[in-house]
């Protein structure tokens, strides 16, 4: 029997010809990413070496990436002090892939990694962030781990005790209609699978809708694969992967593609027809509580959020600007936009999207995670409702358990900004 993409990646990373589903392996790590929680990783890393007489040594500083994004610029002295400690550690240990709070090279980790060409097909990528699954968009096996597990990776250079996961095939036929996006596709899929429906499994995406999808959309799909509990999402690398790496990530060295073998074992295959898809909304307070936008249209919204590692890329911002063109953000509703990186921010400026959105009434913030994780830059009042292109709507997610969060695409978010209520973007701006 052949191997799925994740099996092939793990075979390569363990120097074996074949790995079987369920066996336990210790793959070499190609890229190990952390954000502000590097402060905890550092603490645990130093703890490992206590009493050993060994000098704390990172196995390969060139394979570590640290990106500040969760609280940028720092919202509190405590965060600022954590960030300061991380900077000192980075300098002392020669970590070069460090992205500080900067307008040129900063941004959200799940955009900074791909746009700098750090992620390649066939790699093993671990990150102390659950949305590390994003990087499966480039054909890597990328999964989230905790801080102590990362400390162990820093010391040993491989992930320990990884069970080779089974794979669920996702076959998407047809073409997405106008104003229906990869976000709608992944929301519908999470609704179908359920919040824990893919736990300990990988989602491997196939079909004409996936082949036609740019890497930005594939990042959205893989990003939210974890919302079905999946260990990872993977799009087998193809000519679009090469295009992205060459044209958008500036990669000039060889890129080796990795496809699944024809007789690879899929535990099951879920089939979706993109051409029949409608805009979707995940309702409070779970991501799998998904309904067509038409069934929640008219719900009053106080805050619109466009951005995040899910939907803060240039095509997301362009779509929002297009849907809002000639309109204004409704009074009583506020709209906050967070580009996913400084580079995207500059591209959005050059294309005129930032000016358009601001003239419509939106506030365009610095690149970063913004209010997605409930720390700053957009707290909700008691009883308020947010409609957001982010990835989670758990109770209290945006910082206030007395508020509600709905999740949607940039098109639905922008259309709803103009009306102040949840709105189907296909209706030409009518709620």
């Amino acid at each position: 029997m052949g191997m799925t993409v994740v099996q092939k990646v793990l075979a390569r990373a363990t120097g074996r010809r074949v790995v079987s589903i369920g066996e336990v392996v210790e793959p070499a790590v190609d890229l190990a990413m952390s954000h502000e929680n590097a402060a905890l990783v550092i603490n645990q890393f130093l703890e490992i070496y206590k009493g050993t007489g060994l000098e704390p040594t990172i196995w390969d500083p060139a394979r570590i990436a640290i990106i500040f994004d969760h609280r940028v610029p720092a919202e509190s002295p405590k965060t600022a002090t954590n960030q300061k400690k991380v900077r000192e550690f980075v300098a002392a240990h020669g970590i070069t892939r460090f992205h500080d709070i900067r307008g040129d090279e900063g941004g959200i980790c799940h955009q900074v990694l791909p746009e700098n060409g750090y992620v390649r097909p066939g790699q093993v990528v671990v990150g102390t962030d659950s949305h590390t699954t994003s990087h499966g968009a480039l054909g890597a096996f990328a999964f989230g781990i905790g801080a102590t597990e990362m400390a162990s990776v820093w010391a040993l250079g491989h992930a320990i005790n990884v069970e080779v996961p089974g794979t669920i095939g996702i076959e998407v036929t047809g073409a997405l209609p106008d104003l229906v996006t990869p976000k709608d596709l992944i929301l519908q899929l999470v609704g179908k699978l359920g919040a824990g429906g893919a736990t300990f499994h990988v989602l491997e995406f196939h079909g004409e809708a996936i082949r036609a999808m740019p890497t930005s959309g594939r990042l959205t799909l893989c990003n939210m694969s974890v919302e079905a509990g999946a260990t990872a999402g993977i799009v087998p690398s193809d000519e679009e992967t090469v295009r992205y790496l060459r044209e958008e990530a500036g990669v000039t060295d060889d890129v080796e593609l990795m496809a699944p073998e024809p007789d690879a074992p899929y535990e099951r295959v879920v089939r979706l027809d993109a051409s029949k898809l409608e805009p979707q909304v995940a309702c409070p307070h779970t991501v799998d509580n998904v309904r067509p936008v038409t069934s929640v249209a008219g719900t009053k919204v106080h805050q619109i959020v466009i951005g995040s590692c899910t939907n803060g890329r240039l095509d997301d911002i362009a779509l929002a600007a297009r849907v809002l063109r000639g309109k204004k953000v409704a009074r009583g509703t506020r709209m906050i936009v967070f580009p996913a990186s400084g580079r995207i921010y500059q591209q959005a400026l050059a294309a005129g999207y930032v000016a358009e959105l601001m003239q419509a009434g939106a506030v365009v913030m610095n690149a970063g995670c913004g209010p997605c994780l409930g720390v700053h830059q957009g707290a909700l009042g008691d009883g308020e409702v947010a409609l957001s292109t982010t990835n989670r709507n758990f109770k209290g997610r945006m910082g206030n358990p007395a508020s509600e969060v709905y999740l949607c695409s940039p098109a639905v978010a922008a259309a709803s900004a103009a009306t102040g209520v949840i709105t189907d973007p296909r209706n030409g701006g009518l709620a």
Binding site: V24, E36, N37, A39, L40, N43, Q44, E47, I48, Y49, K50, G51, T52, L54, H70, R71, S76, K78, T79, N82, G127, T128, D129, S130, T132, G144, I145, G146, A147, T148, E149, A151, S152, A155, L156, I160, N161, V162, E163, A195, G196, T199, F200, G229, T231, T286, D288, L373, G374, V375, R392, F394, K395, G396, R397, G399, P401
Partner: protein, 167 residues
């Protein structure tokens, strides 16, 4: 095996935002995180802080406990109070964080228990003394046994390093 009281009973899909809200994520040290365990469940958190919850007390939950963020604070905060989590199933990253930090998790696919119930947690089954019902325990992934046996991931990795250092 001693009796343990259920101090919190929850449903499916309890997220790490629920266990440890994002606004406290700048607090990272395992010595400091326990104060924010279930911070938005004010009465329960107050009970934990006031010392009214005995070590070994049980949180019972449904499927997919610990879904969402990879934040390790969710596991270290519960570990700090020496709580035990009995759930129908666990989300992957939370499960691994718990094992890495030595937080006791018990997967019991059919568990039914209410706050105030007394449980006896065995290796292969959980008995609810209050209802008289018994439920089978699903073993944790064997791949993680070595970490549990070592007393957590820090000790496990330390041992691996010193062994290779000695070789």
């Amino acid at each position: 095996m001693s009796k343990a009281k259920v101090v919190l009973a929850l449903g499916d899909d309890v997220s790490t935002d629920d266990i440890y809200p994002g606004r406290y994520m700048a607090t990272v040290l395992p010595t400091e995180t326990p104060q924010f365990a279930f911070a938005d469940h004010a009465a329960f958190n107050a009970g934990l802080q006031g010392g009214g919850v005995a070590a070994g007390s049980v949180i019972v939950a449904g499927r997919n406990f610990g879904c969402g963020s990879s934040r390790e604070q969710a596991a270290s905060a519960l570990k700090g109070h020496e709580l035990v989590v009995v759930a129908k199933s666990f989300a992957r990253i939370f499960l691994q964080n718990a094992i890495n930090l030595g937080l006791k998790l018990v997967e019991v696919p059919e568990v039914a228990a209410a706050e105030g119930d007394d449980l006896v947690i065995g290796l292969t089954e959980v008995t609810n003394l209050t209802s008289g019902r018994r439920f089978a325990v699903r073993p944790l992934p064997a791949a993680r046994q070595a970490i549990m046996d070592a007393g957590g991931l820090i000790a496990y990795t330390r041992r691996r390093l010193t062994r290779s250092g000695a070789a």
